[in-house]
Every structure is written in C-alpha cells, then in structure tokens.
C-alpha cells in the first residue's frame, strides 16, 4: 500500500515518460516533476476520505454490455481514404520502421 504524498524524482519522471512514449527535454522533465508532484499531492487528499463499501463509478449510465442487434457487413473504408493521411505509404500500406529485428 503506497502513501499518497507524492514526490517525483527524476528517475520517476523518466520511467513515466517512457511508459507514456514521450521524449522530453531535460527542461521539461524538471518542470513536469515539480508540477506533477504538486498535482498528485493535491489529489492525495482523497486518501483521507472514507470510501468503505462505496462502489467505483466507471460510467454514470445504467447501461451494461451493449450489443449491436445484428452485425451486418456494410462496406469498408476505401483504401485511398485510409492512406490519405499516412506519413509514409507505398500506395498499398503504411510504411513504418521494423518492430522486430531481422537476423537472417
């Protein structure tokens, strides 16, 4: 169980930035460490509230597990449209760097 007084170190910020897939400048890291600590500290007051027996609210609506009445195929996105905003394309697919190394 972790206490809710935050004090983010530089290595905390590095870890969170990597999890978030954000490349940050040293300036940003320092500023965010301070700002995030302040915000998390403020949010930490929730640890004082008695929530015994209180269910969490994930959605305010009473609906659950909504299904479509009938799943009928109704066309598809045109390839040209789908590639219309591609940063790099060969006209058929999105071109990206390899996700895995190729060894032979």
């Amino acid at each position: 169980m972790h206490t809710l007084t935050a004090s983010l170190t530089a290595s905390d910020v590095d870890r969170i930035a990597h999890l978030s897939r954000l490349a940050l400048s040293p300036d940003e890291k320092a500023r965010f460490a301070q700002q995030l600590t302040a915000i998390l500290d403020y949010a930490g007051q929730l640890s004082q509230i008695d929530v015994d027996g209180i269910p969490p609210t994930a959605t305010v609506l009473a609906v659950h597990s909504v299904m479509r009445a009938g799943d009928t195929v109704s066309g598809q996105i045109d390839r040209h449209d789908a590639l219309g905003n591609a940063p790099a394309t060969d006209g058929e697919a999105f071109i990206v760097q390899a996700a895995l190394d190729h060894d032979g």
Binding site: I16, S20, L46, V51, V60, V63, P87, Q97
Partner: protein
C-alpha cells in the same frame, strides 16, 4: 443578435437568402478573425455551396429548424474533407474522410458550415491558451481569454461570426467559455448526444453540445443532435426535447448549494449570481438552501480520472497511420519523438498523470479510489434532486482573466473549473446563461443544473430567465463598432 430562430424566420419569409447571409458572415470573419483567432479553418467555398443548396431547398418549400443557417464547428469534430486539428500540432494537416454523427445530422438538416473553431488541444484547458495555433481572444476585451476549451466557439458566437457553434464539455468546456463571453452554453447529460466522430479526450466525461445566443437556440440545436446512435454504445434514447415557450416558474424549486458560495469567488460574480437567484424567486420559483458536501473533492477526483482516460485515448497518436511523424532511430524512438514534439505541455502533463495513476502499485490508491469518490459526488446530486428541481450556482470563480496570467501554474488553471467539474463527474446537464457584468464590463454566467436527462427543465428555466432579463442580448464593443 442573429439567433438561429430569427434567422430561420427571415429565411422562411424570403427576407434574406442563405447565400447572402453566408457572404456577410464570411466578410465579418475576414475582418475580425485576425484579431480574435476564433476560426482555425474557414471553408468559404464549401459554405457558399451549402448555402446555395439550402436556398434551392427553401425555394422548393423545404423547412427544417436549421435549413440555411450558418454555424461553425469546434475543431474536435471530424468533418469529411475538412482539416480537423483537434487544436493540436500533431494533427495540423489531418483531413478526415468521414463526418461525426452530429455533423452528418446537421448537414442533412441543411445547416451551412462556415469553418472549424479554435480550442484547447484535444479539449484540455480552460482558456484556449493550450491550442497549438495560438489562443483565441475574448471579444469583450481582446487582451483576455475567451475561456476554454470551447474558446473559439464562444468567441465566434459572441462576436457574431456565426449564428451558433458546436462545442464539447468534459469538465466545463462549454459552460465556462460561454460565461466568460456572455453567451449561452448547454452541457448535455452524458449519453444524450452521440460522440461518434468526436476526437476523444475522456470517454466517461466527454459530452457534445452547442454555444448559442439564447436558451431557445440551445433547444433547437439539441433537438437536431440528440438521440441514440448505433455507432456510440453510450447513447441512450430519450424523449425528444421541446423548444421552451413558457415564462413562469411557479412550480419550480431551485436549490442553492452552500458549498458553492463558501468563498473564492470574485465579489462581482457572487453579487450577479445571487441577484439572478433573486430574479428566479421574483418570477415565482421557490428557493431553498441545499448541501452538496463532496463538492470540494470534484477537482482532485477529476484530475485523476480524466488524465487516466486521456492516457488511453492519446495512445493512438503514434505517427504511424496519420498525423505528425518525427523520424527516430527505431520505431519506439519515432513514436516518442513524434509525441514529444507533437503534443503541447498540458496534454503531456495529463498523459503522464494518467499513466502514473494507472500504473502498478498506484492503480488502487489513485484511480479506483477516485472512482469511488466520484460515486459520492454523484449521490450528492441525486439526494439534492429529491428536494429540488434545479440547482443554481456560479459557473466560474472569476470573469475573463488576462492572456498569460495562469499558464505557468497548472493547478491555478484547474481551479477555474471548481464549479463545473462535479456536474461532469455526475454526468448531469447544466446550462450557463449570462447574468451580469463586472466593473470592467466582463460577462458573468449563471449555472442552472438539472437531473440526468432533464434538459427540458433546465432549458425551460433558462428560457424563462431570459424572457425577464436582457443580459444575453448585450453585445461586446467590438460588435457595436463593427456593423
């Protein structure tokens, strides 16, 4: 004021054509937008083409509540063939190939779309200073913010650069800018209007609405947009809204929550809001004090839940299929550089807050706990509505602040939303209507809050208030001097 209602009357009577109206708006936008930066994209040719099509329909005897009426759209909505930036550099050149559900509905009704409006990046902010394309300016004082995140929408309506504008409200983003710009803004119940095609910010909190000159126009826009959508499983079918037409409040009980008046408000704001409540009483409403004891927890709860949802929704921006790509040494490096450069500071802050709150070891202590306190806040309102029909409260603690005044302190900016956040967490409807001005002639808004899906009562009371008062008809100096 060019309301939607009056514009339809003029078009129906043949007093003016949609093409003439559209021309006039485009000329005003050209003259005033450089000062206000309300519009990010003006679709002049498309607008004129839509106007001519509307005029053809009118000539054939067609009649819809929006036929030929020039409106504008917050840049968070996907508009087919029209650049949609989300207020972000990461989507600076993105052009969607489909319309959001509400956009499709408005097109079918024959509305004329003038362009896309400035906003805080992905809806995150209370001043429009987080826009990747410069802030919008308040028409009442151009050195001040219009509020946010629907700042462009509010500025455009206040400066008469469109008849009405679409906006979104996740933590106050329709109500607060409407209050700061002296216009009317309705936040709908979560589930009333489809979010399909809206660039997602916080999926359990986002709502779609409109900023208008008055409550009657708000009802017209809601009627055009509401309804169950098979493409948004969080929409609920409800009885359609009726345009209000009564003006007495004899059967209405208004609750005044003590916690909203416990200090922290600019004196002029408190004075105007209390005077407005007196007006409601004079119109026949019964006014009583109520308590919403968990009000002060709205801010910490929101700034854990919303960022958590942000961290999930922003994950799609990776430079692969659309948007900015900043090349790096490998795929992960490319993703990190793209997001590091493409997102602004506030978005990055919230992604990191959310990632932290959801991470192993912290998930229960922060995120789940915040969801439990959200239940307490929701129950506060449910209990209150057993005693009253409507809750009357301020919208923002102060009038429009100077551009730059709060950008260095995120928590100071978050405090702008203290009166609007609890409503968002509960998922209930609320409207902001003009109720006065401070000593610098800056607008003040009154918030009228209703039960879930009781937009009818909210609009009826707001409409009645606007029959008795004329704050909503006042124009900013910029409008008076530029005829």
């Amino acid at each position: 004021m060019q309301t939607v209602f009056d514009t339809r009357q003029a078009l129906r009577a043949g007093k003016v054509s949609s093409a003439e109206l559209t021309d006039a708006f485009l000329a005003r936008i050209q003259a005033l937008n450089p000062r206000l930066n309300a519009y990010l994209t003006v679709t002049a040719e498309e607008a004129l083409s839509m106007a001519r099509a509307a005029d053809d329909r009118i000539a054939r005897g067609d009649d819809t509540p929006l036929l030929g009426v020039p409106i504008a759209i917050k840049d968070l909505f996907s508009t087919r063939g029209v650049r949609t930036t989300g207020g972000s550099k990461i989507l600076a050149t993105y052009v969607p190939s489909w319309d959001a559900t509400v956009i499709a509905k408005l097109r079918a009704l024959g509305a004329v779309i003038l362009g896309k409006l400035n906003c805080d990046e992905f809806g995150m902010g209370s001043s429009t200073e987080n826009s990747g394309f410069g802030p919008a300016h308040n028409p009442w004082d151009e050195t001040r913010v219009p509020g946010g995140s629907s700042g462009g929408s509010s500025a455009a309506v206040a400066a008469e650069l469109c008849c009405a504008a679409l906006g979104t409200d996740t933590g106050g983003s329709i109500r607060q800018p409407a209050a700061l710009c002296g216009v009317t803004g309705l936040k709908n119940s979560y589930g009333r209007v489809s979010r399909y095609g809206l660039l997602a910010f916080a999926s359990s909190l986002d709502t779609v609405g409109a900023i208008t000159h008055d409550a009657r126009d708000a009802a017209i826009l809601l009627a055009a947009m509401e309804g169950h959508d098979p493409q948004d499983s969080t929409t609920v079918a409800v009885a359609p809204i009726r345009v209000p037409d009564g003006a007495h409040l004899r059967d209405v009980t208004v609750g005044v929550p003590a916690e909203y008046y416990a200090g922290g408000m600019q004196p002029a704001v408190e004075k105007a809001v209390r005077a407005a409540i007196q007006t409601l009483a004079a119109m026949g409403a019964t006014v009583r004090e109520i308590s919403l004891p968990n009000t002060h927890l709205g801010l910490p709860v929101y700034y854990l839940i919303a960022p958590a949802e942000v961290s999930a929704n922003m994950a799609r921006f990776d430079g692969v299929k659309y948007g900015l790509r900043v090349p790096g040494s490998d795929l992960i490096d490319t993703t990190m550089r793209t997001r590091g450069q493409g997102f602004g500071a506030e978005v990055k802050r919230r992604i990191m807050l959310g990632t932290y709150a959801l991470s192993a070891g912290y998930y229960d202590a922060y995120y789940i706990r915040a969801q439990k306190v959200r239940t307490l806040i929701k129950r506060d309102f449910e209990r209150a509505f057993e005693q009253v029909d409507i809750i009357a409260a301020p919208v923002a603690p102060s009038t429009a602040f100077k551009i730059g005044a709060k950008v260095d302190d995120p928590l100071q900016m978050y405090l702008e939303d203290v009166f609007t956040l609890p409503v968002s967490l509960a998922g209930i409807p609320a409207i902001s209507v003009p109720c006065g001005f401070d000593q610098d002639r800056l607008p003040i808004g009154l918030q009228l809050i209703g039960q879930a899906f009781d937009e009818q009562k909210v609009l009826d009371v707001a409409y009645a208030f606007q029959q008795t008062t004329d704050f909503h008809t006042q124009k900013p100096p910029l409008v008076l001097s530029h005829v």
